[in-house]
């Protein structure tokens, strides 16, 4: 990709006239809580707050489980996944007869990740296959923060899969992030420097001593490490010098590995600004020159306190709220950044501190994040325990994952394909941030998704993917009592309280069909449980379906 093109695009987007902020009379109350460990009550409310932020949706079974252990243990378990990583994506697309290099080495239903094929058609099919697969991985996430964090890091590094144009290398990048996602951030950046997709996407493979390409060197600092916060003062000279450090790396198209060509590497000394303490990275020659100089570059960059602050602010915007005021900067960002740096950029300690902090559980920080498309699509599928085809039925599985993936695109999220290298605008674009998810286009489509999944669902190979609210209600404590049913469903699905009037209206109009007495619902429910005939099922299903459809149409449902 031509660097100027994408830079122009990004700058243009950044400078586009800010959307007119709607007139909001609310001036949010501020909080001064910090990162002291939270010692308040550990109830479903706090568990659900934690899970909705750290995972995609809060499944009732997970909520009940974590409510039965302590907050310490819950966060520790979230941070230490034990489930194996997912099996790689398989070839579920049809072998095209068109490509110059026919995709004939692998059979359908077996993985393509180890097969080299540089045909554009094949690679676009593999990229699509990867995105379906990732959707399935999100859907089947284990009870940990792992998948949300991988989602965060993929966004952090901002590669556009369609621009990279190679599903194999995008999958490799995903795996690199997966390996480091709960590991060491410095190591992850180090791996990304010579990641093949990254080399291609930010032109690193074109960066030579005679014709330096500064693309990656700039984003390495501006977007991946020190950022552009008030404490970041790297210079244009630093960009140029870093670019020289990074010269000489190329891509082997026969095995999708990076390799270093010493003759293309700049052997001059690289001198950095006072921001980097006037560091000089000694120019080197030979086969190890590239790696050694990158190590020096990493050490220089990660010596800057601003790196930890920049990344912690990112965590904050993903997991707590997008506005960071002076009190938050002092009480939360600074202390967490210290933890991050003092632990040599290990990711688990800083996030553990964040998720155990009184600030995280501050009631003022609850219910204030606008759900992402993945929270809506993946979260609702998980929260309702939607039955999916057996893993062995890859055709139906990938088909349904594709449907879910498509709904995320419709609502503004294309997995591993952000608008540009800066990533998803909802995490950086001032002043709206998360509010960018909700527009006059995407909000109706969010409702369209929940409506379709509520009424007809989506059918493929005779497998119907659909919300089953009756089955969901069976998992609740007392679904035969319409008040308890509504209260409990709201407890698990919602973060904001609804008024008693609204709940009363929902009960009477939706569950009771206008009847005055609660026992009509109770009788219908018990009749269905005692004798689950189609007729009895329909009586409860028609009502409970309208209740949940209505719940999901409320604005409150968009918050987590």
């Amino acid at each position: 990709m031509d660097r100027r093109d994408f830079l122009t695009v990004r700058k243009a987007k950044k400078k586009a006239s800010p959307m007119s902020k709607p007139l909001i009379t609310v001036s949010p109350a501020r909080t001064s809580s910090g990162i002291n460990p939270y010692t308040g009550p550990w109830r479903k409310n706090e568990v659900i707050h934690l899970l909705k932020r750290a995972m995609f949706g809060a499944k009732k079974a997970d909520v009940d489980y974590f409510a039965s252990v302590s907050m310490d243990q819950a966060v520790n378990e979230l941070m230490n996944p034990t489930a194996p990583n997912p099996v790689p994506p398989v070839k579920e697309y049809t072998t095209s007869t068109q490509p110059g290099t026919p995709d004939g080495n692998i059979a359908q239903g077996t993985t393509w990740v180890n097969d080299v094929n540089n045909d554009g058609t094949v690679q676009s099919q593999r990229t699509a296959s990867y995105k379906k697969w990732w959707t399935g991985v999100l859907l089947n996430q284990d009870r940990s923060i792992r998948e949300k964090l991988i989602f965060l890091w993929v966004d952090h590094f901002g590669n556009e899969a369609n621009e990279v144009g190679n599903g194999n290398t995008i999958y490799i990048q995903h795996q690199t992030i997966r390996q480091n996602g709960l590991g060491n951030f410095k190591q992850m950046v180090r791996d990304m420097v010579v990641d093949v997709s990254m080399l291609r996407y930010l032109n690193g493979y074109l960066n030579t001593a005679t014709a330096p390409d500064e693309n990656f060197a700039r984003e390495l600092q501006e977007l991946f490490t020190v950022g552009k916060g008030s404490g970041s003062h790297y210079t244009e000279g630093d960009v140029k010098e870093a670019a020289k450090v990074l010269t000489g790396w190329r891509i082997n198209g026969l095995n999708y590995q990076p390799y270093f060509t010493s003759s293309r590497h700049s052997s001059a000394n690289k001198t950095f600004s006072s921001f980097y303490n006037n560091t000089v990275i000694t120019g080197r020659t030979g086969a190890t020159a590239g790696d050694l100089e990158i190590n020096d570059l990493m050490n220089m960059i990660f010596a800057q306190p601003e790196v930890a602050k920049y990344i912690v602010r990112k965590f904050y915007r993903w997991f707590i709220y997008y506005e960071i005021d002076a009190a938050t900067e002092a009480n939360v960002i600074g202390p967490l950044a210290d933890i991050f740096r003092n632990n040599n950029y290990e990711i688990v300690p800083v996030l553990t501190a964040l998720f155990k902090s009184e600030h995280f559980y501050d009631v003022l920080n609850q219910s204030c994040i606008i759900k992402t498309p993945a929270d809506i699509v993946i979260g609702s599928m998980r929260e309702y325990n939607v039955a999916m085809p057996a893993a062995s039925d890859w055709n139906t599985s990938y088909g349904h994952w594709n449907t879910l993936y498509s709904f995320m695109i419709l609502t503004g999220l294309n997995l591993h394909d952000p608008p540009n290298v800066a990533g998803i605008p909802a995490y950086y674009q001032e002043p709206l941030f998360h509010e960018l998810w909700i527009t006059s286009d995407t909000l109706p489509k969010r409702n369209q998704f929940t409506d379709i999944l509520s009424i007809n669902g989506y059918v493929r190979n005779n497998f119907r993917m659909k919300f089953d609210f009756v089955e969901y209600a069976k998992t609740l404590a007392n679904p035969g009592n319409p008040n308890d049913l509504i209260d409990e469903a709201l407890t698990y699905l919602f973060r904001m309280e609804l008024s008693p009037q609204v709940k009363q209206q929902m009960k009477t109009q939706l569950l009771l069909s206008g009847q005055q007495y609660d026992y009509y619902w109770t009788n219908a429910w018990h009749a269905y449980i005692a004798s689950p005939t189609a007729a009895n099922f329909n009586i409860v299903n028609l009502r409970i379906r309208e209740l949940f459809k209505y719940l999901m149409s409320l604005s409150e449902y968009q918050l987590s």
């Binding site: 709607p22 909001i24 609310v26 001036s27 949010p28 109350a29 049809t94 506005e323 003022l364 920080n365 609850q366 219910s367 204030c368 088909g399 594709n402 449907t403 709904f407 419709l410 998360h434 509010e435 909700i438 006059s440 909000l443 109706p444 489509k445 369209q448 998704f449 379709i452 009424i455 007809n456 989506y458 059918v459 493929r460 190979n461 005779n462 973060r495 904001m496 008024s499 209206q505 109009q509 939706l510 069909s513 206008g514 009847q515 005055q516 007495y517 009509y520 219908a524 189609a534 007729a535 329909n538 009586i539 028609l542 009502r543 309208e546 209505y550 604005s555 409150e556 968009q558 918050l559």
Partner: protein, 529 residues
């Protein structure tokens, strides 16, 4: 040739056929059936207002048998209305109204009220929920149907909805439900065809741009933001606001009467110019197992209060229609999921029953009483029920045919199997209200068509896909899947034609449901012999 010309021309022959037992006349471009098939919606300015009385209304104390008063009194002496208090009807001595319904008495005497006796269906169900579903879906008692009768009608008139709606020819909601969330009555094969305004309060919030308060927190700030976008994108919100704002003056309505509150909004929207065909309002509290009347005076109490509010609300609505000069355009009907038992219980109430009288009202109707007083045994048994005289589906089908000007053949197809050959033409509408039907224009975005339609044995279904997974299913009016006609991963956007052989299937309406990506569209197709 454009599809519309094609249909118009090709249908210009006499089908020597019967549709569900009715002879089909020559179908040409002027035929309402052909126009209906063209997909634009039959363009009358007629409006139907459906009033749901939830809880099971005691019809025998609403429409009271005078000719058999002694039997009536004998069956329910503890709640019976004294004979001298029954409101009489001009020119009809056999039957009278509850004393609290003076408004409806006046309307009857002005020939704006039709009383239909003993409306019900075979093998009545006594569960509120199931009986409500039966009334809303128009199913038989043992049938499971997932769409509403009005929803099927609106889907037939506007098969493309909601794709491409609202649009220039159909800018307004097809149906509006007030005082409740969208009900089964207006549920179509894939989406609910109605816009719902959950309460009178939310209507005025919409009109006035006010909203429920939010807390002064970050969460409150974000909730305000989402609500603000929701308000901007609420489909038809501006059409409703504009229509409401065109009407500033209405005649008086009673206060403390939620039915009147809802009907006042309906009148305002009709006068304001909405092209909406169907309005549904609801009014509850009729489940009077005990203390239906006071123990000292049977003409007052819970039920009397409810009936008084119904009567006052409808009368005020009718007066407003006169004031607003839209009386010719509006017909209303009441229904309740069931009536109550003939014999009262010892708690001064009545238990769940069967058939009950139903009102159709408005200037266009053919006033009077249809049917006889219910038969009451000299010694009423606790299980005695009012025997059905008229099937409620015949009320619906008559209104569809005589008020919404849908051809009889098509109307039959909109009812589930086993019912569509039993529908009766009832004298509900005075004169011919369908002699001035305007040819509609197709509206919305058509994703599926079929030709020929109507068809005898087979038809070809043509549909557009955006590419990707594409599924075409055939369903019957009961919502049962007949066949998956097509399922492929289509590489690119294209148009596909598949034949549908229905030679082994009974006559009636079949639905072709297209599922492609986020899009769904359901096309009604009429099979005739």
């Amino acid at each position: 040739m454009k599809r519309r010309e094609f249909l118009g021309k090709s249908a210009a022959i006499t089908l020597p056929a019967l549709i569900s037992g009715y002879a089909v006349k020559a179908l040409n471009e002027d035929s309402p059936l052909v126009r209906a098939l063209l997909g634009g919606g039959t363009d009358t300015d007629h409006v139907l207002v459906i009033i749901q009385l939830s809880g099971g209304n005691d019809g025998l104390n609403m429409v009271i048998p005078i000719s058999t008063y002694d039997l009536y009194y004998g069956a329910r002496s503890n709640i019976a209305i004294p004979q001298n208090r029954i409101l009489t009807l001009n020119g009809y001595a056999n039957t009278g109204l509850h004393p609290s319904m003076t408004g409806l008495q006046t309307m009857y005497n002005e020939k704006k009220l039709k009383v239909i006796q003993a409306v019900g269906y075979p093998q009545p169900n006594f569960s509120h929920f199931r009986a409500t579903d039966i009334w809303m879906t128009a199913s038989n008692t043992d049938q499971q149907v997932f769409t509403g009768w009005a929803g099927r009608y609106l889907n037939y008139e506007y098969p493309n909805f909601p794709t491409g709606y609202p649009n220039a020819t159909t800018p307004d909601p097809l149906a509006i439900q007030i005082g409740s969330t969208a009900s089964l009555t207006t549920q179509g094969p894939s989406v609910n065809m109605a816009m719902s305004i959950t309460s009178a309060t939310s209507f005025y919030q919409l009109i006035n741009g006010t909203d429920d308060p939010v807390p002064q927190t970050k969460a409150g700030k974000e909730l305000s933001y989402v609500r603000n976008v929701a308000k901007q994108t609420r489909q038809y919100a501006s059409a409703i606001v504009d229509a409401a704002n065109r009407v500033t003056n209405q005649s008086p309505y009673p206060t403390n009467n939620s039915l009147a509150d809802q009907l006042k909004i309906v009148a305002r929207l009709i006068k304001g110019g909405l092209k909406t065909k169907v309005y549904m309002v609801s009014f509850g509290g009729f489940d009077n197992h005990s203390l239906q009347t006071t123990t000292t005076d049977t003409t007052v109490g819970t039920h009397a209060t409810l009936l008084g509010r119904v009567s006052e609300a409808i009368k005020a609505f009718q007066d407003d229609l006169v004031f607003l000069e839209i009386e010719d355009r509006v017909v209303g009907m009441t229904f309740s999921e069931f009536g109550r038992r003939i014999k009262s219980n010892s708690s001064v109430g009545t238990d769940h029953g069967a058939a009950a009288p139903l009102f159709v009202f408005g200037k266009p109707i053919d006033g009077g009483v249809l049917g006889d007083n219910p038969t009451i045994q000299p010694v009423a048994n606790v299980n005695d029920n009012v025997t059905m005289q008229y099937d409620f589906r015949s009320i619906y089908s008559t209104l569809l045919q005589k008020w919404f000007c849908v051809p009889k053949e098509t109307v039959a197809g909109l009812f589930p199997p086993g019912i569509n050959n039993q529908l009766q033409d009832l004298p509900l509408i005075a004169g011919d209200k369908c002699n001035n039907v305007i040819v509609p224009n197709p509206s919305g975005t058509t994703l599926i068509t079929n030709y020929p339609n109507p068809f005898t044995n087979s038809t070809e279904i043509k549909f557009s896909t955006d590419g990707g997974h594409t599924l075409l299913q055939i369903m019957d009016t009961a919502g049962r899947l007949i066949v998956n006609l097509y399922e492929e991963d289509v590489p690119a956007a294209t148009t596909i034609i598949v034949p549908f052989d229905a030679s082994h299937l009974p006559n009636g309406v079949y639905y072709a449901r297209l599922q492609n990506g986020a899009g769904q569209q359901v096309r009604p197709m009429l099979k005739v012999r």
